[in-house]
Amino acid sequence: MPHKPADVRVYGIVFVALLLLLALTVATAEHDLGRWNFGVAAVIAAVKAFLIALYFMHVRDSTPLIKLVVAAGLLWLCILFSLSLADYWTRAWL
């Protein structure tokens, strides 16, 4: 969809934010946060992915249909994960 001319400044801000998040995730990895290391890294990665998708890929300005397609992709990924892991995480129960 031809969206409105992208704002170059927004790209710049998003890019700086991405680099800061990268620095943050590397910095936290230097510290032992126990089981939180993974959680923090995952959250930061998700935020970065969202920034790229929303601004670089223009999901923010896209039609509802495109948003639906993105949501469907993520939903199906969740299906794959949740039902597979439902097996792995309950296997030793019997």
Binding site: L65, G73, W76, L80, S84, A86, D87, R91, W93
Partner: protein
């Protein structure tokens, strides 16, 4: 809505501008981007694969007439049933209705000039052929013996047959499937004629749309599972290798995440075809249009939630087994909705029994039986007993052959006049339809009994007490084979000698019948504007009150 019901033998012949006469060179076919020509290319190639897969099945059934291995070597037998499965599933059933009938009919039904991405469409066919060549190479070079399911670690480590070439072939063909599905989704969203709202769409479009969702979201997972098997064989990356702590069940999860929904790739388009045929030969709007439509979506979504029912005895957690069992029963509901609605559509119709209708009614019956035995195999304790036996073989053949192939043949007959401009010989066609129905039941019904008795599938030698039922099944298969041979013959015959078809020989609703038979390259002289609901048969029959379609 204009409904040209007079047999237009003359009007159709004069302007030689239909898609078939747009060019006669091989080049004009191989470089075409016309969805109709691509459909014909698919038709030819999947028929070729159907014949190869059918021949493999013939030898398998012949060999199983006796309990001992006396026709072919066991290794050959294993390669034959693998070839049958791989070819029929990936190279015939999955592309059958979407790539042939879908390609041909979807743009016509939408009032569009072509699919959204015509060159991508042609590419899909080439990709399909390339994948087919790899698989054919594997078969000629020596075959593959893993079964179409490629379970690790047998496929990844132990089999020393042509697993790699076959896996590459299927991997490549997967792209064809993805691109076709993608093309349909975009086309259905973006290329509908003015006035053609979602609830005016023919039900065939709904089902093709649902199918495309599965193709787009499921196929990549098959790709990754075969890719991992390939990497294990090629590079020794042991994702499924128990010696590295790898889990063979993970392969099954990934494989069935696609391969269960794949069953719906095969059956949903057939349901769509049946939803076109029944209203036409009942001369009325289908009962519960929106319920049939939405149940297609429900099936597409639920189909992704149930794959673990293939793993009830695999070592999957029994709690996960229960989750998958309960979810599997969800699929029963939209399936039941469809069957009941089709049946109710007959009520107060004006029913005639041309060949497409015979196939459609046969479909409803056989799909009902296949679907009801689905309740057996989703019931955990019963599945433990029948898993990997002939009960399963019978169950999925009722769905895939009794369902999908019957729908495919019904659709081919229904749209044959549109595709070729010729009528097929009705008598022969009715005869073969009945032959196929009888032969099919004789082939596969005994296999239910065989399965519950405990005969495992993929057995070359088997205990003697199973022989009677096996012989019955093989006898039925010969009738079935004959039934398939007839259409192959008379349809080719009709290309030259069949009666010239009018634009709308069935006086059917739907935009595809408003253009000439065969349609011109650009499909419509001018973009049609839709003002009526789908299946407006009262209107059509009101215009020409002949009553009945004959």
């Amino acid at each position: 809505m204009p409904s040209p019901s007079t047999a237009g033998a003359v009007s159709n012949r004069t302007p030689k501008r239909d898609y078939l006469s747009a060019g006669y060179t091989v080049r004009s076919w191989l470089l075409t981007t016309d969805h109709k020509r691509i459909a014909i290319l698919y038709l030819l190639s999947i028929t070729l694969f159907f014949v190869i897969g059918g021949l493999a099945a013939t030898v398998v059934r012949l060999d199983l007439m006796t309990p001992q291995a006396d026709l072919v070597e066991t290794e050959t037998f294993n390669k034959l049933f693998t070839a049958h499965g791989v070819i029929m599933v990936f190279f015939f059933l999955i592309p059958s209705i979407p790539a042939v009938l879908g390609n041909f009919i979807v743009p016509l039904m939408l009032g569009a000039r072509d699919l959204a991405f015509p060159r991508l469409n042609l590419l899909s066919w080439y990709v399909y052929v390339l994948g087919g060549l790899f698989t054919v190479y594997a078969l000629l070079a020596g075959g593959v013996d893993t079964g179409w399911t490629f379970y690790a670690p047998y496929s990844s480590t132990y089999s020393n047959t042509y697993v790699m070439a076959t896996a590459v072939g299927i991997f490549i063909t997967g792209f064809s499937s993805i691109l076709t599905g993608l093309n349909f989704i975009v086309t259905i969203h973006k290329m509908r004629a003015p006035g053609l709202t979602w609830f005016r769409l023919p039900l065939f479009i709904w089902s093709i749309y649902a199918t495309s969702i599965i193709m787009v979201l499921g196929t990549p997972v098959l790709a990754i599972s075969l890719f991992l098997v390939g990497m294990e064989r090629l590079l020794g990356i042991g994702i499924f290798d128990p010696r590295l702590g790898g889990d063979p069940i993970l392969f099954q999860h990934l494989f069935w995440f696609y391969s269960h929904p794949a069953v719906y790739i095969m059956i949903l388009p057939s349901m769509g075809v049946v939803s076109e045929i029944i209203p036409c030969f009942c001369r009325k709007r289908p009962f519960g249009y929106s319920f049939i439509g939405f149940s297609s979506f429900a099936i597409a979504v639920f189909s992704f939630l149930v794959w673990g029912h293939h793993l009830f005895v695999s070592g999957q957690s029994i709690y996960a087994g229960m989750v998958f069992s309960i979810l599997s029963y969800l699929v029963a509901i939209p399936s039941a909705v469809k069957v009941f609605n089709w049946t109710a559509s007959l009520h107060k119709g004006s029913i005639s029994f041309e060949t497409p209708m015979l196939y459609a009614l046969g479909f409803v019956g056989l799909f009902t039986m296949g679907g009801l035995t689905g309740l057996f195999v989703a019931a955990l304790a019963v599945d433990v007993h029948v898993h990997d036996t002939y009960f399963i073989v019978a169950h999925f053949h009722y769905i895939m052959v009794g369902g999908a192939v019957m729908g495919y043949l019904g659709g081919i007959h229904f749209w044959w006049p549109k595709m070729t401009g010729r009528l097929y010989p009705e008598g022969w066609a009715r005869f073969s339809a009945i032959l196929i129905f009888v032969g099919f039941n004789l082939t596969f019904f005994p296999q239910y009994i065989l399965g519950y008795l405990g005969m495992p599938r993929r057995y070359h030698v088997y205990p003697e007490e199973f022989q009677v039922l096996n012989v019955m099944s093989s006898a039925g298969a010969s009738i079935l084979g004959l039934g398939y041979f007839f259409p192959l013959t008379y349809l080719i015959w009709s290309l030259m000698y069949g009666k010239i078809a009018s634009p709308n020989p069935w006086r059917a609703a739907g935009l595809e019948w408003q253009t000439t038979s065969p349609p011109p390259t650009d499909n419509f002289a001018e973009t049609p504007v839709v003002v009526d609901e789908a299946y407006d048969y009262q209107h059509i029959d009101g215009v020409s009150p002949a009553g009945g379609a004959t």
